[in-house]
Subunit: 252 residues, 6 copies
């Protein structure tokens, strides 16, 4: 299978080699979990390591915020833009959904001219401003995502989770529409906050099922080892596993 | 009793031999739990193993997505369509509910022409767009399901669950209307996500009551052994059973 | 006191001999917990064992579904109908509430002609379609139930619970209006789903207070022994009692 | 202080001798917890033991239901009515709130003619049908209760709790308006349902603070001993106290 | 710092000597927790022990209810009113908010004539009837409180908490507006209900941070010792601390 | 990187040296957690220690309340205002959002005249009065914050959390918009209330991930050591870690 490598330490291995080409991949997380960093790195590594030009579509922050945030990791986005390998576009859900559905639109143009192969949508949450009706929203999202896939782009879609810790009832249906679904979570362990990554779903491919620690370092997103000896990690508030007790007793 | 075999490893045994013929069977699960895979496999095995042609009615994805997803498991859906043994139909709840209630409709046509015996509705959740009124929705669903049963079809109905982990208050009444009710759930165990299957209800037949692990492998849906030593599996966040403690102590 | 025996193994004993005559008795449960089976068996045993003709009023399913479901337990409902001992009536809450309040209505007719002594209403949940106003709904339900009691019928009323596991906030007030209140619940124990029955309330009679297991067998509803060594059964997600620990330690 | 004895085993002792005279006392509980039984017994014992005539104001059930329910405990309400010592009045919140606020109303009449000293209002929950506005409802309830107190009646007010087990968020403010507040709760202990009584509040008097078991026996309401060795009783789903563990270990 | 002593056993010590002069101090609690008793005692002790006349502004109960409740603690409010040291005023939020904002209002009058230094507002919860808009409510409350402070009054504001046990989501913002915030809570310990007091916030002063037991005795409000060996007191449903276990084991 | 030191004991170290210059930093907490104290100290230390003039924009309290509260910590705000190093401005969200978006506005004026480098917005919660629409609110907040950053101010934004203990579902999106996000929480430990500080997010910088105790002392905000041996601190209701048990046993 044709894999689109993220180039992120530990992540490609979890994904069985990378995302599948021309699929839509959702990254969901609370503020500060690194969704945008993951997206920028996906685009940067695509350009540098795989020679695949990329787009970043932003619905809120200005391009210069991305240049600035990328620079902190040593990624020179402005230079890549000058070379025609990257384009950071600030637009709105209203405009971009019409754009992808018309012939000769902006995104189609970047694909044609730059040869863009990857796109980050930061974030899909802004689509909720298009309509209050969940049925219509699902249809809009589905059509937008499919239009991107028709442009043969491999898509990374960020989504904001409003819950800082713990599980929330999620009334969104976007998880059903995408090809893969990655979840970023805060977890309190030993009086500190760690970050957890889970590949919940990946259509048409095997993937790691374990919950791994990750961190945002000076080099960017870095997936680390699996959590050990904890129950209820995804609740954000895990407990030491009973097993640890038993072991401690039995070993005596 | 006349059993409609799913041909899925472990599942027919849980169902006491398979679904009962001409019944409506609900499969509910979160994104990525494999509802559609289960449905495709039910149809595929029906054709290949039992010589029972089948229909897949989809309300969102295009047929080519099903061809593509099926191919990943080695199931050649396009060939089966050419042979007249399978039909993947993309339509809407609006159209299909009218269709089944009129004489000489499309679905009736496939039953007559192809001899279709099985149908997958993917997914019943899209019916919620027909009305905001839960009483009317129940009536619409009930009538649709009964019309399919009158066509002597054995029906597998998928339903999307919005909750990733844990129990949700479910205000739907479709569970009361169907003949059997299967639940797919994510479960966090030892810092990894596993999948659990439960046959909650099966009218007119005995069935397995235990909660089993399952996985989506290269061959499709595969039901495995029962969970052991866990309490609260259906909460998504189980704990090791106290019994394990006691045993550990007592064995010393 | 005049007892109306259900003839269901274990249930009459829990009820102190059976329901009280000419009372309204509520059976509440999630899909698949066997509310309708319990109702059919109450009617069937009344006819066969106590020579008390009975009515089943259904607001959704067709009579043939009842014939079919009853047949699976070896109960020949169509024959009983021919003998004038049973009547399965499909109607609506709208019609039946007017019926019982007028002289010479249908239900009154069956009481007069068949000598019906027992009635099942399957289900009271459909009354919610009559009004959105909880005060008016309560009044409608109260009047309907009282009208049935004036016909000297002993009533078994089913009610759908939307929650599969766990406790739900119930904003219905029907529990205050009925004479007895039985609850059916799913319980996860040792990685399997069992069923629990509780007689919460019984006006004018003592009753069992313990929570008992039950099952739907080939012979119908069967109440079994009390649960043992579990805490929190009605939460659906019980835990082994601490007592088991203590015992295990102390016995050493 | 002038105490109004309930004559109920164990209850007067919890109340420091009985309710205070000319106060409003709230009894809140789920279906089947015995609110009405407690009310009837308060009136019956008042007449028989203390020579204090009483009124029962009902907003739903017919007087004959009270006669029937009382008879099950051996209390002959119809005879007491004939003797002019008791009056069971079925009315509505609309009528009775106007009645108590006008001179020469029905309730004033019973006080004057019968010398009524006690009243049961069964139930205050029906006041919610007078208005949707919580501020207005509180004012209506406050005025109604005060009017009863001005008639020098000692009032027992029942209130329906919609929650079968567990704690509910209660948006009512009636607890702030009354002089005492008694809570009846179901509790699951050792796989059975027991009943718990708590005097939460009692203005101007000391009272028992512990949570006691009670039961409805052939003689009526009977308060029993305190619960022992349980934590979280009022959650409805208590756990054995850790203390039991420690003890078990230490005693070895 | 200038301290306004409550004269309540244990409370002044928790407050670092008393409330700060000319501040607004919130007391929040469920029915029966003693908010009004605390308020009355604050006023009574002010008059008797500190020679500071006081006002009680009530929005629901009549003054005679305060006289009566005070008398139960041996406090003769009517006599103090005759001496011009106390005034219990029954009014409405509508009137009193206009009153404090106009020159020469009633409250200003009492300050001028009686030399009032302390005021109790019983309760601030009644302000919610002025508006449904939380932003406007906050502004009304803020202005009212500030107007009282401009009169150089030290204010004790009661607030009703609708939750009997456990933590509630509180959508009020009054806690941000006041100078100190005291919380009264019911706690279930060893099958009985105890009362807990916490000083959550106190602007400009240190204060006790521990959760103390208190009781309403014949002498009024009495703060007692800190809770010991319990976790989760403020949940209302605490558990014995694990530490107790460990100790028990280690001591052996 | 250019760091803006808070000068608060322990906090700069958690932030990797201080906030990043010209960023927006959110401080969220319940009443009494010290948000405003932290803000005042940030401004005060900026002036005294770093020679950076500062602004405090308040949407509710009067400047004199800040003077008074600051004085309690020994900070003479009025003197600093006279020296032109500080300005406390009481305004409204309506006015200030227009102000920052126009040329020559008030805030721009203070930056130009005073050379203000730091600003506190106390509190952002008041923006919710501008609109009920969460999409519009986010846009207003985003634009306001960006306008402040364009003035080259380093911003500390307070935000009120309505929950006293425990985790709340937060439907605000401001956390996604800011550069760093600090959370202040109450925690119940050993029957007392302590305060916890967490740096959840910090764009473009490493930061401490552990949850630290802090207190408001006579010198102001003081960050102390990490919590130890507790699980679930951010729930507000932590439990002793199982590890403590194991240790206790193993050490024997």
């Amino acid at each position: 299978m044709d894999r689109v490598k993220t180039g992120i330490t530990g992540l490609d291995e979890m994904l069985g080699g990378g995302f599948l080409r021309e699929t839509a991949n959702l990254i969901e997380g609370a503020p500060g979990t690194g969704k945008t960093t993951l997206g920028m790195q996906f685009i940067y590594n695509g350009i540098i390591q795989e020679n695949e030009p990329g787009l970043i579509i932003t619905f809120e922050e200005f391009p210069k915020q991305y240049y600035h945030d990328a620079a902190a990791f040593g990624w020179n986005f402005q230079e890549l833009e000058k070379k025609g390998l990257l384009k950071v576009v600030m637009t709105s859900p209203e405009v971009s959904r019409l754009d992808v559905e018309s012939v000769g639109g902006m995104i189609e143009g970047y694909v044609d001219q730059m040869g863009a192969r990857r796109v980050v949508i930061d974030s899909m949450s802004h689509f909720s401003r298009l309509t209050q009706d969940p049925v219509e929203l699902r249809s809009l999202e589905f059509n937008f995502i499919n239009a991107l896939k028709r442009e043969r782009l491999t898509c990374l879609l960020t989504r904001e989770s409003p819950v800082l810790l713990g599980e929330a009832y999620d009334d969104s249906s976007i998880g059903f529409v995408v090809d893969s679904y990655l979840i970023l979570r805060y977890v309190e362990i030993e009086s500190a906050i760690r970050k957890a990554l889970l590949v919940l779903k990946m259509r048409g491919s095997d993937h790691a099922k374990d919950i791994r620690q990750y961190d945002i370092t000076a080099q960017g997103f870095e997936v680390q080892s699996k959590f050990e000896g904890q129950e209820g990690i995804l609740s954000g508030n895990p407990r030491r596993m009973a097993a640890s007790f038993v072991e401690a007793f039995v070993k005596r």
